[in-house]
Amino acid sequence: MTRQLTILSLLLLLLAGLVTVATGLGYLHIPVGQVLEIGWAHLTGTPPAADIDSRFPVIVTDIRLPRIIAATLVGGGLAVAGGVFQALLLNPLADPYTLGVSSGAAFGASLAIILSLFGIALPLSWTVPFFAFAGALATLVVVFSLASADSRFSSNTLILAGVIVAAILSAGIGFIKYMADEEVSIIIFWLMGSLVGKTWQEVLLVLTITLPCLLVIFYFARDLNIMALGEKTADSLGVESIKVRKLLLTVATLMTAGCVAISGIIGFIGLIVPHLLRLLVGADNRLLLPACFLAGAILLLAADTVTRALLPHEIPIGVLTALIGGPFFCYIFRKRQLGRGR
């Protein structure tokens, strides 16, 4: 119990430290002490001290912080969703996009972009997240109805349904890209994921979706543990496993859809983080899932800070996480293969 609290508080401390440091980094360097002063002044509603550059408070509260908070929420949300999918599908290689949610969101976003290119004048900053979110949810509905022939919602049925739907949607995205012709770069940039220019409205949007989802997931964390024993045994221990499975699949997908809607497709956070943490803190979801949130937030914020403040040019965050995540995936895959051979 004390060990669990130690790990969680360490991660929390690390995240708080990283948020502070990341806020100071950027084109204009702001010392950590001043970041804290500005934050404190903002929280208490007092004017910032006179020795602070007058541009700094605006940079901190209106430009950097929304993006930083968005990165922590998206990273944390994706990591928890990944952990939930792995636990539900009894497959350590599942991720938040296993049910085709990313393809659904990508299709929705591409549709919004192509509609605007064809002169249907809607503000992209609103239509893209909205269409992406709707696309992700529509995909979930289709996958569920495909899988519902199997009344137990078994993991293989769900994964297969997800693969089929994602394949169809990818073809649809390809077609939209072809139609977009020379404007295709807007779609491609969205697909690679980015946190550039996130506003407080978008942060609020993600927060209102992720917070209730996280609460539901943490509520069922112990049931998730029992469900690792398989459905029959879980039922015999008093867990309504089919109901819990449907509920948590929906909630985890909802959370993923919320994250994807504002950030685009960010891969591998949802795969690596639960995996790494299972090695560090064990398989107990009551500790694993909160730890996933903190570690996912730390990882995405670190990656976003690297691309925003340290690299000479911003590269899309989805590309950066996949570049780190891809080799890791290979490593896990290889290790599993070797493990099976023994």
Partner: protein, 264 residues
């Protein structure tokens, strides 16, 4: 706990099947509390399916099955889990839970959400670990156990659940002789001393004869016969149901029929 004359389980013409293939046909019998039942039958005779009906994992397509006078399907899962523990044939687990974690999962129906286990829960878990001779393994991951060790973890988990009824699907299938006898002795002792009911599928006819009170024999999805060990276990039954030749003799020391196969 219910004692006296009311039967624990009543099966009335229960049938079950998967898409047009009947697995169990017209099973009718009463099962009483405080007895050790051996569920016998060749491969594919419907033993596991019958256990599924008793545990509520499957519901009869026709007929009625009651537990304490109520249809099994009308119990909530949590209520049933406090009355009835189940040991499956095998455990497939893809995550690194420790042996202790898995055995503690047996206490899940009794521990309120967000509460840590009480000292009583911990004592039950430690007792179950000791009875199954796996106390030394308790901090090991269940993913790295041998088949026999995993099976003992499953039985320990059910013992920790500490229910008046215990249903086991081939609890000794992958165990060496020492641990096989240990499990059978512990189950026998619990039935005799604490009055719980045990229903276990068993392949070893000799083992079933020595440890059980009554035997239920399934053959091709039908109830072949059901009754006290001495009445059921005979050489003609072994020939007809299991297609094997054997000598059945009375072990005067144990007062039980014993089975010796003829290999010629």
């Amino acid at each position: 706990m219910m004692t006296g004359t009311a039967p624990l389980f009543v099966l009335d013409r229960c049938s079950f099947g998967y898409t047009a293939t009947p697995v169990l046909v017209d099973i009718s019998m009463d099962l009483d509390s405080g007895r050790f039942y051996g569920l016998l039958g060749p491969n594919g005779s419907g033993k596991t399916t019958l256990l599924d009906l008793l545990t509520g994992a499957a519901h009869p397509l026709a007929g009625r099955l009651t537990f304490h006078g109520r249809e099994v399907g009308t119990y909530g899962k949590a209520a049933l889990a406090r009355l009835l523990a189940v040991v499956p044939q095998d455990l497939h687990i893809s995550f690194d839970f420790t042996v202790y974690d898995v055995v503690m999962m047996g206490r899940h129906p009794f521990i309120p959400r967000f509460s840590p286990p009480s000292t009583a829960d911990i004592d039950l878990v430690q007792a179950a670990l000791a009875e199954m001779d796996i106390s030394a393994l308790q901090h090991r991951s269940v993913m790295h156990l041998s088949g026999g060790e995993r099976q003992r973890v499953l039985v320990a988990r059910a013992l920790a659940q500490n229910t008046p009824v215990l249903l086991l699907d081939e609890p000794t299938a992958s165990l060496d002789i020492r641990h096989t006898l240990d499990i059978m002795k512990i189950l026998r002792r619990k039935v005799t001393e604490t009055g719980i009911t045990v229903i276990a599928t068993i392949h070893d006819l000799d083992l079933a004869s020595v440890f059980c009170d009554e035997l239920i024999v399934l053959h091709a999805g039908s109830l072949y016969c059901h009754g006290p060990v001495a009445a059921v276990m005979t050489a003609p039954l072994i020939r007809e149901v299991f297609a094997a030749e054997a000598v059945v003799f009375n072990d005067e020391l144990l007062g039980k029929p014993r089975v010796q196969y003829r290999y010629a």
